[in-house]
């Protein structure tokens, strides 16, 4: 059998079933709006969105791996590139750029110039603390956790808060070894 070659984000994106972008954007808007009504506190909504994203991420990672034929990344740098170029493309139809690496190579920024989630959104004064796209950070955290990487994902720049792009800071906290504890005395 021929070895499976990793597919580019564009190739996967072209092959999966898609929904109308507007339906997607508006559905997400409706969810955020409903959460604001239900939970009242903006902080709580941020938390809830992150949790929802996490729950999506832990399942979505398998689909990502199955359909993109990506194999093990050698380091966190490659992981970040794969998320930005293949992951974002496959599920959101846009790509991100990876920048601002720290010296240890454990944290970087994913910059999104284009974000389909916010197409029609203007934040009212009452919601200034809201991270509207907080679901994305949860997705990344959840997905990476399933491939043994504990990460912390935070928003640095947000166009809804007047910045010029969306910037997610991804920090690798630790890599959980996959080996089984096979020594009796451990």
């Amino acid at each position: 059998m021929a070895p499976v070659v990793p597919r580019s984000g564009d190739a996967v994106f072209a092959n999966v079933e898609r929904v109308n972008a507007e339906l997607f954007t508006l559905t997400y808007g409706a969810i955020v709006r409903q959460l604001l009504t239900d939970l009242e506190e903006v902080e709580e909504v941020n938390k809830q969105l992150d949790q929802m994203g996490y729950n999506i991420g832990v399942r979505l990672i398998d689909e990502f791996l199955a359909k993109s034929n990506i194999s093990r990344c050698v380091d966190f740098k490659e992981t970040a590139e794969v998320i930005a170029k293949v992951g974002f493309k496959m599920f959101l139809g846009v790509t991100a750029t990876v920048t601002n690496w720290d010296v240890e190579g454990t944290s970087c920024s994913l910059v999104l110039e284009d974000n389909p989630l916010v197409e029609f959104v203007e934040l009212p004064d009452t919601c200034q603390g809201l991270y509207y796209c907080n679901i994305l950070s949860g997705v990344i955290r959840g997905a990476l956790e399933m491939v043994s990487m504990k990460t912390e994902v935070t928003w640095v720049r947000d166009m809804l808060h007047g910045d010029d792009a969306y910037e997610l800071r991804v920090k690798l906290i630790k890599q959980v070894p996959e080996e089984y504890p096979y020594k009796d005395d451990e």
Binding site: R59, L60, E63, L65, A66, M146
Partner: protein, 141 residues
Amino acid sequence: MAAIYNLFIINKSGGLIFYKDYGSAGRMDTNDSLRLASLWHSMHAISQQLSPTTGCFGIELLQADNFDLHCFQSLTGTKFFVVCEPGAQHMEGLLKVIYELYTDFVLKNPFYEMEMPIRCELFDIHLSQAIQKDRLVLLGR
């Protein structure tokens, strides 16, 4: 004649979450299948320790006189394996297809709980279609 005897899916902690047999040979009851699954999980782990060099991810193919066992482990730790006739072809491809079906019809089912036994009718339907197709390929040789 069926090329595949049985199919197992085990979660990352070694619990059997899906089992199906095809044809009369190799049929086993629930207890046996559960025991075999956790046994395979351990053997797979031991095989990684056996490797003299680093970067071994466990047994992929076990060949015996009267059966082959093909195993595929996803990066998230879920293992898919089929027991089939010796020399059966395309099993890696089939396991890959099953993995895709699992992501589509099991993981995307909002009522499926992660790591729990798979009881999803849509998955069953698509799985039997995939296996059927695989048999046709074999017959067409």
